[in-house]
């Protein structure tokens, strides 16, 4: 059985596993390299500047803050290697530090917020990719016809409109005027319910946990709160992926082997779906992976406008308050995700296109 896995030869499978293992082994080195760079950049700020993590506004100065005392207390004037070493030794013990922005350990803050971002990602990413691919293929097949023009115009609008503009317009129309889809992750009653002891958190994703707890009200409430962030987040990426898919398909459809397949009497549907689309997807996959991760990591604007308590909102809080524990913690987390995603993308190439070798 192991000889063939999903139609892939044994040799290729072994190569793939070796490749994956190598990438995973260098993962920690890459992550620490990234954090060293970020830590170094933060250390370009002097101790009094980094004190802004603890003294957040001019109003707090009014309280007579003892700046020297705070600098000494938090070791902000210790040498670089001491501060970095202190941080690394904590990380190795699983302690990413304490976030002053949200007043809890960074790891706990990320754990609390990750499910929200993941839930948004699941409902935003896969439909986005699927719809973009479908419409991109459809547009390319109907090249220069009415539907192609319509789709291209819509994608141009989606691609051109800044995210904060589309988000605010959606919020104004669908919440401000119509009252259909409120901001926030859940309504107050639902939030209290999911935080109560009676509600079991199986997955951390409210839509699934609502079903698993037999409380469809929570599921519906979560979906209601997800709709606007999903649309807002997907719009830009959908448009971008659609354009890539369409261009790629058009190029593939001009290839000789497609002409050959058609001349041999292969059904057009088979030509498109089996022969053309698969090859056209390679560049799409290349960009889709990072785009999905950008949704997870970079939904700062979306989460802020819709008051959706995910990782993006946390990143924003840490950045604006110079919370370096939070910044470093989220940097590590995002680095890990990017590397993992790139790994999945690379492996996906081999599955989709057997010509690609993982040497």
């Amino acid at each position: 059985m192991i000889v063939y896995i999903a139609g892939i030869e044994k040799g290729v499978v072994i190569k793939m596993l070796t490749y994956i293992a190598r990438r995973l082994l260098i993962l920690p080195i890459i992550i620490f390299g990234v954090t060293l760079i970020v830590f170094g950049m933060m250390m370009l700020l002097g101790p009094y500047q980094r004190l802004a993590t603890y003294v957040k506004s001019p109003q707090e100065l009014s309280g007579g803050v003892d700046m020297e005392g705070l600098i000494k207390k938090y070791g902000l004037d210790d040498p670089f290697h001491v501060q970095y070493g202190r941080w690394v030794s904590k990380v190795i013990r699983g302690d990413l530090g304490y976030s002053q922005a949200v007043n809890k350990p960074v790891l706990e803050a990320l754990k609390d917020r990750f499910p929200a971002s993941l839930e948004l990602l699941i409902y935003a990413a896969f439909p986005t990719v699927m719809v973009a691919i479908y419409l991109g293929v459809f547009a390319s097949v109907n090249h220069n016809q009415l539907w192609d023009h319509v789709i291209r115009v819509l994608s141009s609008i989606g691609y051109s409109m800044p995210l904060f503009v589309s988000a605010l317009i959606l919020l104004l129309i669908f919440y401000g005027i119509l009252g259909w889809f409120p901001p926030g992750r859940l309504s107050t009653w639902a939030q209290s319910l999911v935080r109560s002891e009676e509600f079991v958190r199986y997955t951390g994703l409210n839509t699934f946990d609502g079903i698993l707890n037999g409380n469809l009200g929570v599921t519906i409430n979560q979906l209601r709160h997800l709709i606007l962030p999903i649309i807002s987040l997907s719009l830009l990426r959908w448009a971008y992926l659609l354009r890539i898919t369409r261009s790629s398909m058009l190029e593939v459809l001009r290839k000789d082997y497609i002409r050959t397949a058609r001349s041999k009497g292969v059904k057009e549907n088979v030509v498109i779906q089996k022969h053309a689309r698969r090859n056209a997807l390679i560049p799409v996959i290349t960009v889709a992976g990072p785009q999905i991760i950008m949704m997870l990591a970079g939904a700062v604007i979306t989460e802020t406008i819709f008051n959706y308590s995910g990782v993006g909102q946390f990143v924003k809080m840490c950045a604006t308050q110079l919370d370096y524990a939070g910044i470093l913690g989220t940097t590590m987390y995002l680095s890990f995700l990017f590397i993992l995603t790139n790994l999945i993308v690379d492996v996906s190439y081999a599955i989709i296109d057997p010509r690609i070798r993982l040497d």
Partner: protein, 635 residues
Amino acid sequence: MSKRLASIVLALVVIVASFSVVAGAQEYTVKNPNKLVVLRFGNAETLDPHWAYDSASGLHAENVYESLFQYPEGDVSKLAPLLATKVPTKENGLVKNNGKTYVFPIREGVTFHNGNKLTPEDVKYSFMRAIFQNRVGGPTWMLIDPIFGLTQGRLENVAAQAWDDTDKAPSTDELEKILKNNKEKATELYNYVSDHIEIDGNKVIVHLEAPYPPFTKILTRSNNYAGAILDKEWSAKIGAWDGTPEDIGNHFNPDASESAYNKLENMNGTGPYEIVEFANGEQTIWKAYDNYWRENAALETVVFKAIDEWSTRKLMFLRGDADLCTVDPQYRQQVESSKEIRSYSGLRAVGMRSFSFNWDINLKGNDYVGSGKLDGNGIPSNFFEDIHVRKAFSYAFNYEVFINEVMKGDAMRLRGPIPAPLQGWKLDESKMYNLNLEKAKEHFKKAFDGELWEKGFKMTILYNTGNLTRKSACDMLKTYVEQINPKFDVKVRSLQWSTFLSASRQAKLPLSISGWAADFPDAHNFAQPLLHSGGYYADQRGEAFKEWAKENLNPKLAKGMKILDPEKRKEHYRNLQEFAMDKAIDIWTYQGVGTHLERKWVKGYYYNPLSNGYWYKYDKMTDQEYTDLMNKQSN
């Protein structure tokens, strides 16, 4: 045909008329009738009241914990009993020994949220816990100063007193080590503090080292929680200070994360609400405490949502999904026009903003002083030490236009370091500076014996990035100063907050806007940090100011704390106000005036300038009451 037509027309008329009737007597519904939803922004640093020194943390503590006194319906000139049954005065005999002894009779029948009864031991424990915790940058100096006769004192100074070693107080780190490792010294310190706070039956008696007239104000429920009362038994159970000398070192100067009271499940006060849910930066939910010692709060639930994005807050407020909302002044018009929103304006904040002169600028690596010399290409270190320079700048600011046009009327003239309505604030207007370029010119010509006028100067005024109000103030000063003499060159620059903080601390800012907000409503709370040689602003103004203040201000400040008669204190601080204005120590610019916005179905609001948000008196109209109000308004 005509009959049919007439019937149709008649029917239409009836339909339209019925719409009119319906429109005229519209039904209105109050959303969330038993719940108050509050929208603001900001994260709480802590849930521990003795650690808290920011408004977001204060908001969380204020409804859960109580102090001995309160301000009656927001009148900060008076005190009313809360957990104490009487406000101590000389007249009622509860202030004795020339203002050095205060007697607090403690109320009976009060329970904490865990059901434990409030006792005088809890009060003593709470004061001692606050004193021993004394985290760096925290609020408990407000207890230490009056009790131990210090000025912005720390536990290190108290320890030096306890160990008879006042020449050299230990450092914070040294004290922590001593308290953890030296049982004898820890016990000595414990006994010293304990001796100042006595229990006699149901009374707690506090002995001060020196008279401190505003002492009771520090123990008042407001925006400072140094006086918050905790349950001693509960504290020991949850791992807070257990009340023994040996344990002091384990709880001295903790991080926010190290404080046991920073956990939701450990909160336990006597206040009208308990926090049942706390997701910092997202949402907090309070529930009314069923066994509150006064009448229970009218509203069962209060929900606070932290929403940074103004558009989102605005839409929720306009839709009625929120009852109270923080609105920045520049956005107020967007919501005030709604017929369903009520605004209370002209609410004086007990705080002040001024341009602070640096009398002793640190020239090292300083980009804001040009050449650093009085050569026409910069300013020297002692530029603002010359009173004529300070007076000239004070005459070169258009206070009225700034308040009316920039602040849109949300401010009032500051008459010195002491804002309204505190003792002595009301300096005669004739003694204040107004825009007068001729007088400014006169003083510039006198400055540095005429050398400044001949040579001119170059300098930069700074503000923290994003603060447009401060930017406008700086631009205004620049405009008028440069008009006086073409050789005067003033630049305005913004700095990121972190950089501003750093530059400020290193005394590199020649002139910057800063401010002070009240910890407790007494003139001393402003006079001391702003004018004393050891006050908070002294470092920013440099050694030259400190030397001058030692001789010219410190004696006045010390005298103010010895005057117990309220009228005499008022007169004394008014004289101090005049002195500070005359010497142009700062450009005393403005005092903020705020606006409170709420949905019209909300009842019970009253203004307390020192409150971060107190839900106890809030209530909501019924649907009928609200309908009647709105229909009356329409008619």
